[in-house]
Symmetry: C2
């Protein structure tokens, strides 16, 4: 399979807009790995609550404004963005302790939501609050201020909704601790 | 906002694997636009059923195999892939009739699931059937055979599940016609 790269098309992304948000830095800054588990989780929880309530703007380049026509018929959108504050060298990471938690066994990057991944395209479904011209207002997006927007899609049931979801114990545990239903 | 591009990082994707599938061409081939609405929808419906039942392989480059460790704890994964058969010139499309249907008003590309979009990164949540080494078996992925895989993520409730989804009438109608619950 390693010859596949030669025949693939160029996959170069161009930002179609930028996130304007009160969230100024990623949840787990690298310098915080020395914190105790308890303090760490307190911080993560506080950050998570801040994100949940955060109302932010997706400012789409005016060149692409027309592509938003009709989007306000959807209650939710899927936002694809690039975590621009993550050091590109971290695209080579192979395994991590989820959320930096040493009490959880290492997991392969594809089994985690880590922003450090071979192709750091982050995906989040969020409620659409409003559309005004080239600006979408959304709620609860974790993207930090200044993140390049790659794509905006409608939240379509057929591509995104699943039945009988099962997640491993470690992720259930994190959801419980962060009080995510 | 049009100065943003200068300060953005390079966003170059590298395929991490390739889709092996019985699905050999996209749902709506360009040459089919002359069909009657009825015949068109019959074809779309047949394609949709074929996709739903399709079991396909995500063959991850052996270089990245380790990144899959732990993924079999999830019932569903989110697959990001590139629709490589779509002519790159179509990244400039601005509006379309959803599924080429003239009876539905034109919508901006960001309000549709069209594979022709400024950054054609397609996203689909699918059941994970099995993992064997560097190969994931999944069900119901619409990607055509040979599509480059950009990313595989766990289906995490917190990023992807929504409450009280509302979609516009035209998309509800398409879901009804394709018998998607």
């Amino acid at each position: 399979m390693s010859d596949t790269k030669q025949t693939f098309p160029d996959m170069i992304l161009r930002p179609v807009g930028v996130v304007h948000s009160e969230i100024k830095k990623p949840m787990l800054a690298a310098g915080e790995s020395g914190l105790s588990l308890e303090l760490r989780m307190e911080k993560v929880k506080a950050h998570h609550r801040e994100v949940e309530e955060c109302i932010c703007k997706l400012v789409i380049d005016p060149e692409w404004e027309e592509l938003l026509d009709g989007i306000d018929g959807f209650s939710h959108v899927l936002v694809l963005y690039w975590p621009h504050l993550i050091d590109p060298a971290r695209r080579k990471l192979r395994k991590v302790h989820p959320m930096g938690r040493k009490d959880i066994p290492m997991q392969g990057i594809f089994a985690t939501c880590s922003p450090a991944r071979p192709n750091p395209v982050l995906v989040s479904a969020v409620p659409l609050v409003a559309r005004n011209g080239n600006v979408l207002t959304v709620k609860g997006l974790e993207a930090v201020d200044g993140s390049p927007i790659i794509d905006v899609k409608p939240y379509s049931k057929s591509y995104l909704m699943v039945d009988k979801l099962k997640m491993p114990d470690w992720m259930e545990q994190i959801h419980r601790e962060l009080e995510i239903d």
